[in-house]
Every structure is written in C-alpha cells, then in structure tokens.
Point group: C2
C-alpha cells in the first residue's frame, strides 16, 4: 500500500499505539514510526520489538517533520499532552487519539488547537486486558470498529486520511458525535466494567472464609475477567465519562430492580419474558 503518512509519531507504544505501529508498518502506510514516551525502558523495548524505527522522549525532536501524531496514552493525559505538543507540531499535522472517552477530549482540543493542526477524535474499540509493548500485535484491529467523532471544526481531508489509515490495518470505521460515542461506550464498555468490579466485590462480601472462590466456575471468570484490568485507567474513564456512566448505571439499576421485583413477587412469567428478550438481543449481537 502507498504510505498515508511519512513520519508517524506515536505517543504511547503499548497495546494500542504499538499495535497500530506494527500493523501500519506491515500494511506499508507509515514510512517511519517514531515512538514517543517518557519511560526509557518502554521505548527501548518498543525499538527492540521493531514497533518503532526511532524512539524519543523529546517532543520537539520526535515531532519535527511529522505529518501524523497518534496519541495512545492513558485517557486522562491525552488533552494535556496534545496541548503541550502544539508548539512542536508542523503545520497540517494530522492528529488523532485512541481515548475511550470522546466528549471531553474533542471539546477541549477543538477549542485549544490552532486551525493548522488537523485533529480528528478517534477510538479504536479493541483491546485486551494486557498492556505494554510486549502486548502489541498486528491483528488487534482486524474486524473491530474504530469510531471517529468528527465535529464541524474537523478537516474533511484529515478525517479521510485517518479513516483510510484505520481501514488499512483491518478496522471497520464508523462516525458519530462525541456524545453519541460516550453514550454508546458507557453502555457497552464502561458499565460492564463497573458491573464486573461490583460482582467481584459482592463475592468478597459473601466469601468470608475464602472458600467460595475455590470453585468459581467459568461463567464467573468470564464475566469478571475485565475486573482484572487497570484500576487507575478505569477510574479515569469513569471520571471523564461521568455523566454517561451515571446514566447507564441508573438504567442498569432499573433493570436489576425489575428482575428483583419479579423474583420477590414470584412473577416468573414476567421474568422469563425479560430473560428471553435479553437472550434474543444478545444473539443478535453475536450474529452481527
């Protein structure tokens, strides 16, 4: 494939940034990948793994001549890192991010960035519970969706190039408003994580002598696997998407309360109807 970007700077060469680097180089869409980060050991590891062609802890050096900047750092540092990079970015540089919350990021960057920097809010909906350069792999984005959240200030050419980039690494793309994104992610990702943490906390409350956890079945492990992911990262997501997370929690609480009421009232016909509806929706998702 013809290169889409000549000098691609990737801040954060872990699972998200590292996988884009590997897949993008494989697809031939980046001429040079520059790994930007603060931790020397991580950068050296990314270089050793072939994720980056160059590494740097210096923004000015990394961004010199760059036509693409992907910010794949933890979600709460994306805004500040991008604003700090403004003085070092070339005119016309295309900037996108991998943050799993979009409203706050897109609003603040749209307001703060000069018009010659072409920012496109993005979120590749993919991941594992692992992190760091060693967790990166070329096929992470294959057949996953990347949600792009253009606004009226987004440059159409930049949007087009970022779209092509994600599609080149195997991702499907979809556009929606930052707020629609945050509502959707609250319900498909943020709420389920919170529920998984709550299920584990509930087990902890019940398992006073530590016996129950011995024979935990596969179902519990599957449903709570995501509760083994980074607490700090999730705290930040819940903080940045506070409004939508609270709304989805309220909707979820209403569902649980509806189930509970049916059980309390021995209205198992009503409960069955709800379970059947949920099963059908779940099957529709699986067959999507």
């Amino acid at each position: 494939m013809k290169p889409i970007f000549k000098r691609a700077v990737i801040a954060g060469v872990g699972l998200i940034g590292g996988s884009l680097a590997i897949a993008g180089k494989k697809a031939g869409i980046f001429e040079t990948v520059v790994g930007l980060g603060r931790t020397k050991a991580t950068l050296n590891r990314a270089l050793a793994l072939g994720i980056a062609d160059e590494i740097s802890s210096d923004m000015e050096q990394a961004l010199k001549g760059a036509d693409f900047f992907f910010i794949a750092t933890p979600v709460e540092s994306i805004i500040s890192l991008c604003i700090k990079a403004v003085p070092f970015m070339e005119k016309g540089c295309v900037v996108t991010d991998g943050g799993s919350v979009k409203g706050k990021i897109v609003r603040e960057l749209d307001a703060a960035l000069p018009s010659y920097i072409k920012f496109v809010g993005g979120h590749p909906v993919a991941g594992t519970e692992k992190s760091g350069p060693d967790s990166a792999f070329a096929t992470l984005y294959e057949n996953r969706y990347t949600i792009l959240t253009p606004t009226e200030t987004t440059d159409p050419t930049a949007l087009n190039r970022v779209t092509k980039m994600w599609e080149a690494v195997g991702s499907k793309t979809v556009t929606m408003s930052p707020d629609e994104h945050d509502e959707a992610l609250a319900v498909i990702s943020h709420l389920p994580h919170l529920a998984a943490y709550a299920l584990v906390e509930t087990l902890g409350k019940t398992d006073r002598n530590g016996e129950i956890k011995k024979f935990v079945a596969g179902g519990f492990k599957d449903i709570t696997r995501i509760a083994a992911s980074h607490p700090e990262m999730w705290r930040d997501i819940f903080e940045m998407n506070k409004g939508e997370v609270l709304r989805s929690v309220t909707n979820f609480e209403a569902s649980m309360a509806g189930f509970k009421k049916d059980i309390e009232n021995d209205d198992f016909g009503s409960l069955l109807k709800k379970l059947e509806n949920a099963k059908n929706l779940r099957l529709a998702i699986e067959n999507q």
Copy 2:
C-alpha cells in the same frame, strides 16, 4: 479402573448427563450406561454417539437392576422425577443429581425417599452454554469442582462412592451444606447471570436505533455471553434459589450504589480503592 457401578441409569443425556456417561465409560467406572428420557430423538442420538449402551423411556425398565441413578434433568424436574422413580428403584440404589440448586432438592428428597434409597445431593460446577447429547464431551469435568451436599440422613458409603465416581472423571470434590452451596452459587453463578441479562437489557434501552450493538467490543461479548443461555432454565434456577439470589442481588446493588455514589461525589480516590480491592480478589481467583 474397577467399575464403581454396574448399571448406571442417567436421566437426561445432554451436556451434564452425557458428559458423565462418556467420561465414566472411558474411566471404566460404569459397566452399562442406560440413557433415560422422554424424547426418542434425543435418546437415539445418545445411542448413536455412544453415550449410552441402552436407551429407554420407561423408568421401570431402565431402573431394573440399576445400582446407580444420576438425575441430570432440568433443575425444576429433579424432585418430581426422583419421587416418581421410587417404586422402580432397587434397594440400595445410589441416587445423585446435577441440580445447580441444592437446598430445596435435598430437603424434599431427604423427606420423601425411603431409607433404602441412598440419595446424595450433588452439583458438578461445570458447563457450557450448549445443551443436548451433541454438546457432551469426556473432559467437561476435568479440574472442575463437584460440590456434594450430604446431610445427617446421607449414607456415608453412598457419599464415598459418589465422591469416587466424580473424582474418576477428573473432578475435584468438596462437601458443604445445601444452604452453603446455594449461597455460594448465588454469588458466583446466579447473580452474574442476572447481571448479564440486565446489561443486555440496558443496551437494548439505550440502543434505540440498533446502531450501538454493531460495534460492541469483546469485553461486552465476554461479560454477556452467559445471557445467551436458556431463559427457562435460568427462570427455574432463580425461582428455586429465590432467597439466596435476592440476598446476592441486594449485596450487588449495594456495591453498584457505592460505586455510583463515589462517581457522583467525585470521590475517585474512594472509587480507586474499591476497584483495586476487586482487582486483587479477581487475580486471587485466577491464580487459584
């Protein structure tokens, strides 16, 4: 291995019963396996797959000469099926079940069965979301726990033989009271299923135009996979374990409310502490 039982009658030759039949025959602990059921097509399939050596829809015929009876039917029919079988069971026949609720089953069968029938309540904590003879496989119980729930009326020799039988097919065994079992299963299985159904219902409420479900990520699929299992089966489990399920839902609601309050109050330090505790408990489960 020396046979533990000569004529093993298995009511319900699907995932649970069929897998015990296959694994038990492989281990040499059953001389003859008799598949008992109402649906001819299912029985014929079990025969064709080699799950059963004989099949029958007639209790009297099946149980004649049987020294072992495993009731692996849906949980709500275990009690009635067992009581209906009493006139046809040989003296000393060892009876156990695979029901995922124990209190109600063990109480009612302990009261109803004559003392010459040796009933041991049991629950192999294993399964997949599939069912039917074709879903059965020899290694289903390997490294899983089977919980046995003896009471003061349980015959120690029968308990010993049932224990040996489960261990012969690769299962670890643990004993506890029926009520302890139901409390444990409520929190590790019944509550998570209810939460999975509620998460899917919440998605349905939010996804008014059906767009969101398109890009559902792996995390949501993992956590809600169990919501694709049988609604009728789960309705019955929630009904039979009503008390413990409601208690676990109440505990879970308190956990969710605690998280929600932290988010509402911007007390992300408190939230982080809760997430970290849950993560640590989850890792302890994984490393068990």
